[in-house]
């Protein structure tokens, strides 16, 4: 039997038993890691926390941006929203001295101007907003009462859950009907169905013909963007609202008295094509600037907000990525450190194995498998923790979290790679030891 022949046989059996060898190497690695349980655990923690924090943060970030984007989308990406804003304080003072009535906001005339001069604008949805108490028998809810047009839900991507929205006929005739938000329905009618019941505002009664679908999963949509959607909302025909509240709104609250004259609180301008939104928005802004010397309006472009939210998310992802990279780097260095100590400590064992027939690559495999087992187990624990933390956050902090399927997968793969990258140097050092020297090591 020649040397070549025996080497060939070994090489062939290498193939045949590669799988078995790896299994044995893994078992041996588990054994020696188990021998130093505490040390292995502490080494793993670096990777565990790295992986777990990345997955958890990513899930929370993803949830937050999803929430923001849903909110913005509910405004409609083809829409431009104009809102009346109470002008700054100084002007208010000078105004009230003369008339006691604060006159501000978007006028009907503005709408006509927009329609007449700006191309690409299809529908305009005006709306008035009042705050008042809504009663049902003895239950009372402070609500935002929104006088608007029948096509409002379609424009704002909102749906009616039960019943229907009011019709154009009801709008024309100023019929006293209303549609209320789901939260409000729950508060006013905790047990019974709200459809067909009457609610009272002041002395007037309104029949409930529909209940809206909740806009967001999160209760109340707290801390939302500028597109705040209050929980208690009530829609009624614009005409009915004007009949009930008139042009001048009176407010009396704990002694102070305030009167406002606002024609339109909110106007939604729909642009035919999404591409033109930014240009139309600029034109509308220009037009309003010329006619409103006091800054008594605000322009919201959901598309712009959406883009901004996407950019924010990108920045967030970059920051998260860096944190992940740094934490995995630190974890990897920890693994390298412990593996180097491990190799030095086991010099004698390496010598024995080499003397008994282990080749360099057998030694490399042994220590590399150990390093990968450390980082892989750390990664796995990190994934389990990282996936469960968002559930805890959702449960206790009432936040939307989204665990994307790729984030645990990527985190686990990368943690395995960290084991290879940081394990290869100690493993090579072990393999390069001189067997004679290693055997003599005490």
């Amino acid at each position: 039997m020649s040397a070549n022949n025996s080497a060939f046989q070994v090489w062939r059996s290498d193939f045949a038993f590669a799988k078995g060898r790896l299994q044995r190497a893994i078992r041996a690695a588990i054994k020696s890691l188990w021998l130093h349980r505490l040390r292995s655990l502490l080494t793993m923690l670096g990777i565990v926390f790295g992986v777990c924090s990345v997955i958890a943060m990513l899930a929370i970030g993803e949830g937050a941006s999803f929430e923001a984007q849903e909110e913005i989308k509910s405004l409609g990406s083809q829409n431009i929203i104009l809102r009346s804003v109470k002008p700054p304080e100084e002007q208010k003072v000078s105004n009230t001295q003369q008339s006691y009535v604060l006159d501000y906001g978007i006028q009907y005339l503005d709408l006509q101007r927009i329609k007449a001069t700006i191309p690409g604008v299809t529908i305009v949805v005006p709306g008035r907003v009042m705050r008042d108490y809504v009663w049902h028998t003895t239950r009372r809810v402070e609500s935002e009462i929104f006088g608007t047009v029948p096509w409002y839900p379609e424009m704002r991507n909102q749906r009616v859950a039960k019943g229907r929205f009011f019709s154009e006929r009801e709008m024309e005739d100023a019929v006293a009907v209303c549609v209320i938000s789901a939260e409000m329905a729950r508060k006013l009618f905790p047990i019974e169905s709200s459809l067909g019941r009457d609610v009272r505002i002041g002395e007037d009664y309104y029949r409930i013909i529909g209940v809206m679908e909740p806009v967001l999963q999160s209760a109340g949509g707290k801390g939302g963007t500028s597109a705040n959607t209050p929980a208690n909302r009530m829609f009624m025909p614009l005409s009915a609202a004007r009949a009930r509240f008139g042009e001048v709104l009176m407010k009396r609250r704990s002694g102070s008295f305030e009167a406002e004259k606002v024609a339109l609180h909110e106007v939604t301008v729909k642009v035919t094509s999404e591409r033109d939104v930014m240009e139309v928005a600029a034109a509308v802004k220009n037009l309003l600037e010329r006619n409103h010397k006091k800054k008594d309006y605000e322009l919201i472009v959901p598309l712009e907000l959406l883009k901004r939210a996407e950019r924010t998310k990108q920045i967030f992802n970059v920051v998260l990525g860096s944190i992940a990279a740094i934490s995995l780097l630190v974890g990897g260095i920890g693994i390298m450190n412990i593996m180097l100590a491990n190799v030095t400590e086991r010099t004698r064992e390496i010598g024995i194995r080499r003397a008994l027939g282990a080749r360099r690559r057998d030694i490399v495999t042994q220590f590399l498998v150990e390093a990968v087992m450390l980082s892989g187990t750390g990664g796995l624990l990190g994934v389990i923790l990282g996936v469960s933390i968002p559930f805890v956050v959702t449960y206790f902090a009432d936040m939307v979290t989204i665990v994307t399927f790729w984030s645990p997968l990527a985190a686990f793969t990368i943690s395995g790679l960290v084991g290879v990258v940081f394990g290869i140097y100690p493993a090579l050092r072990a393999a390069d030891m001189d067997p004679v020297e290693a055997l003599r090591h005490e």
Binding site: F17, R24, I352, R353, A355, G357, D362, V436, L439
Partner: protein
């Protein structure tokens, strides 16, 4: 006596460079071991015993000269090939037993075969058989630190036998044992010799040397005497 020569040194030299000083550990040793021989190598410290053992064990390569093991020239083989030779052809027994602490008795015996990629069941069977042979059949799952010195050395002997090696190399096998236990180990060597194993023992103990068939003395890296007893 079987006439086939299985270990053959032809004018083997080994020099070490230690800084600027060149140390000549072996200065042209030519020697021949036949199959089934029971040999002891003796000599004062620094005579080149360890160097010779390292060369015999394929743990090191000679600076010049040839080393034939079986009928292979192993003197210029690369590291991987030497590893395979060690695993297939040689059995090692050390003074300090050199068992791997985290492995059980049976797993320690298996190591040389483990690296040959043989089927696991076959390896296990053979290891258990050898554990029986050295009288450790009741200690298969014990760890080395649970065994006495003599028992540990018996595990090492089983390990040296597991790959049906051409030669068994023993480095002071009784050095760490008291005389009674040492005698027990030597009896195992005698038995192995009777079964036809080739055994080379490096020792400084005259009692050990006396039991062997052939006593070789080294001095200053050269053969001093080669006596057949």
């Amino acid at each position: 006596m079987a006439a086939t020569s299985i270990v053959r040194f032809e004018n083997v030299r080994k020099t070490y460079k230690m800084g600027l000083v060149v140390v000549e550990a072996l200065r042209g040793v030519s020697i021949d071991f036949k199959e089934g021989e029971y040999v002891s190598i003796m000599g004062p410290s620094g005579c080149g015993k360890s160097t010779m053992l390292n060369l015999l064990g394929c743990l090191d390569r000679p600076t010049s000269g040839r080393y034939l093991l079986g009928n292979e020239d192993v003197s210029q083989m690369d590291d991987d090939a030497l590893s395979v030779v060690r695993g297939l052809r040689l059995g090692f027994i050390f003074q300090s037993y050199n068992l791997i602490q985290q492995l059980s008795v049976v797993e320690n015996i298996e190591i040389p075969l483990y690296y040959q990629g043989r089927p696991e069941a076959e390896i296990r069977e053979k290891a258990i058989k050898l554990a029986h042979l050295v009288g450790l059949e009741k200690r298969l799952d014990h760890k080395p630190f649970e065994l006495s010195g003599g028992q540990q050395q018996r595990v090492a002997i089983a390990r040296a036998l597991v790959n049906d090696s051409l030669v068994i190399l023993a480095d002071e096998p009784t050095g760490n044992l008291d005389s009674a236990v040492g005698a027990e180990i030597l009896r195992i060597f005698d038995d192995l010799h009777r079964q036809g194993k080739t055994i080379i023992i490096v020792t400084h103990d005259n009692e050990v040397a006396k039991r062997t068939q052939r006593a070789i003395r080294l001095r200053d890296g050269q053969l001093e005497s080669d006596v057949r007893q």
